[in-house]
């Protein structure tokens, strides 16, 4: 052990930085993988309880080993690539989906500055926006490459949907940027610090933006009530109809990691990240994980509660309700910031 620490001290600062970064990436990557498999289990169990069923409860105590069994099953399944498919694009799509999903989490802070974040980018919030807009490619590619009408329709629907709701998503962040005076996510978290504890958080101060974010984020990650790209009753399984085996698992993984990301981002931007809800309690990364867990539960709860939108309703709602509300709220926030209203001062 002492040999290792001697070796560490002998490294140049640049090399130390490099290894710390590698370690952080490795840890967070593996935690995300674990969280993904746990979420598949948690979602099935929770949905089952909401619908008066039992859900998977046979593999291990309470069925917690179910994700492992699923993983093994998917590993040994036959890989089918349709004959008319464009091989290259078909194979690339799941990889693009997973890469885009895993990239966004890099800028989310789960603790104070320093160790608790992979990259504290100056333009963190823009980076998030950029990566989330890349996620569309995977779905369009997957939908097109399979050479199947259902996947094609699913892919096109999904692209249109993500386009429309990305706009509202981005607009819901503008107020926060104005209040924090920075694109840096760490600055946005610390801007929510104040004497009132959780009343200082942006989910209170920027309440309309928070609602817009929740709705747009749900649509952005294709979850019920906005899961039209994979509406079983109309499109078989949408863009991933033709996928099987591990490629299917990769697409599923991308969806879950996207959900985990929007929950983590929502926690940082609107729920005060790692700040404590009461002024008396100390701030700690623990708070981040509590709020993050609640948001994840919220997404599952939503799926158990709401029916799916119709496609025209979805488009109407996105463009004629969400975008105008978000835009109006930006004007209101800008006015309040300029007037120097308490709580809206920078």
């Amino acid at each position: 052990m002492s040999g290792l620490s001697d070796h560490w001290a002998g490294l140049s600062p640049v090399a130390q930085q490099f290894w710390i970064a590698v370690l952080k990436v490795a840890v967070i990557f593996n935690v995300l993988l674990g969280l993904f498999s746990f979420m598949t289990y948690a979602e099935r169990r929770l949905l089952a309880f909401m619908q008066f069923r039992l859900g998977p409860n046979r593999t291990g105590p309470f069925g917690v080993l179910q994700p492992i069994a699923d993983g093994i099953k998917l590993f040994f399944k036959e890989e089918v690539i349709p004959e008319g498919a464009n091989r290259w694009v078909f194979v690339a799509a799941p990889a693009v989906a997973v890469v885009a999903a895993f990239l966004s989490i890099a800028v989310v802070p789960y603790g104070g500055p320093g160790l608790f974040q992979i990259a504290d980018l100056e333009v963190g919030i823009l980076y998030l926006f950029a990566i989330s807009s890349l996620g569309v490619y995977a779905i369009v590619m997957a939908g097109w490459a399979a050479n199947n009408k259902f996947t094609m329709l699913g892919g096109l629907r999904s692209a249109a949907q993500m386009f429309s709701y990305e706009l509202a998503l981005g607009l819901s962040w503008v107020g926060l940027i104005m209040l924090a005076g920075s694109f840096r996510i760490q600055d946005i978290v610390t801007a929510q610090k104040g004497g009132l504890g959780l009343l200082n958080w942006f989910c209170v101060v920027q309440f309309p933006a928070f609602i817009v974010y929740l709705i747009a984020a749900t649509a952005e990650v294709n979850r019920t009530p906005f899961d039209l790209p994979e509406a079983e009753t109309e499109l078989v399984a949408g863009f991933h109809t033709e996928y099987s085996s591990m490629r299917f698992a990769l697409l599923q993984m991308a969806e879950y990691v996207n959900m985990i990301t929007v929950a983590a981002v929502g926690t940082s931007l609107f729920l005060g990240g790692w700040l404590s809800p009461l002024p008396l309690l100390p701030d700690s990364p623990l708070w981040f994980f509590v709020k993050f867990g609640l948001l994840l539960f919220f997404f599952i709860w939503l799926r158990g509660t709401l029916p799916r939108f119709r496609y025209d309703q979805l488009m109407h709602f996105g463009w004629k309700v969400l975008v105008p509300v978000a835009t109006l709220w930006i004007l209101v926030t800008a006015g309040l910031v300029t007037a120097g209203v308490p709580g809206f001062r920078r």
């Binding site: 823009l126 980076y127 926006f129 890349l134 369009v140 096109l156 990305e166």
Partner: protein, 165 residues
């Protein structure tokens, strides 16, 4: 650190050039679109290395995230296939291409011959300083005029796409 940055720079510079060549040489428009996407992402990485994360992010948001998705969307919706060269026009096109290429090469050569190496002065490319320049009296009117132009284009698109009542 400098060596590290230099390596990254050459990797992304090479990638952007290579994908740009692929984009032009490719007969399948869909693959061209993907190649252009790689070019855009490499350019964004280069902007990042030059210390301007704002431009780097905008490059992805605007070009990769919005414009290229639309391109791809249309290509896939219309099922555009491989482009086959037309035999008759080929000779004319080739002559014109060679002529223009030679002109471009000559210009490039002239520029490279005229370069006198000079160390660039320290330049602040952060978001804050960029915003200061963009919204300074020098540029703010141009900025506003551009936004009016974009709104005009939007209104035009809606009017054209609207069904007759």
């Amino acid at each position: 650190m400098e060596l590290f940055e230099a390596i990254l720079f050459y990797v992304f510079a090479g990638l952007s050039l290579l994908s740009a060549v692929v984009m032009v040489a490719q007969r399948n428009p869909l693959y061209s679109a993907f190649a252009l996407l790689v070019t855009i992402c490499s350019l964004s990485a280069i902007f990042g290395l030059l210390g301007s994360p704002f431009i780097a992010a905008l490059q992805i948001v605007v070009y990769a995230g919005a414009i290229m998705v639309l391109f791809l969307f249309v290509l896939m919706l219309l099922r555009v296939g491989r482009e086959e060269p037309e035999p008759g026009r080929q000779r004319v096109l080739k002559t014109v291409a060679i002529g223009l290429g030679a002109l471009l090469l000559a210009q490039l050569g002239a520029v490279i011959a005229g370069i006198r190496p000079q160390v660039a002065r320290g330049f602040d490319a952060s978001t804050r300083s960029m915003a200061r320049v963009l919204f300074s009296p020098q540029y703010v009117y141009v900025f506003e005029a551009t936004s009016i132009l974009i709104v005009g284009a939007l209104v035009g698109a809606v009017v054209l796409a609207r069904k007759e009542p």
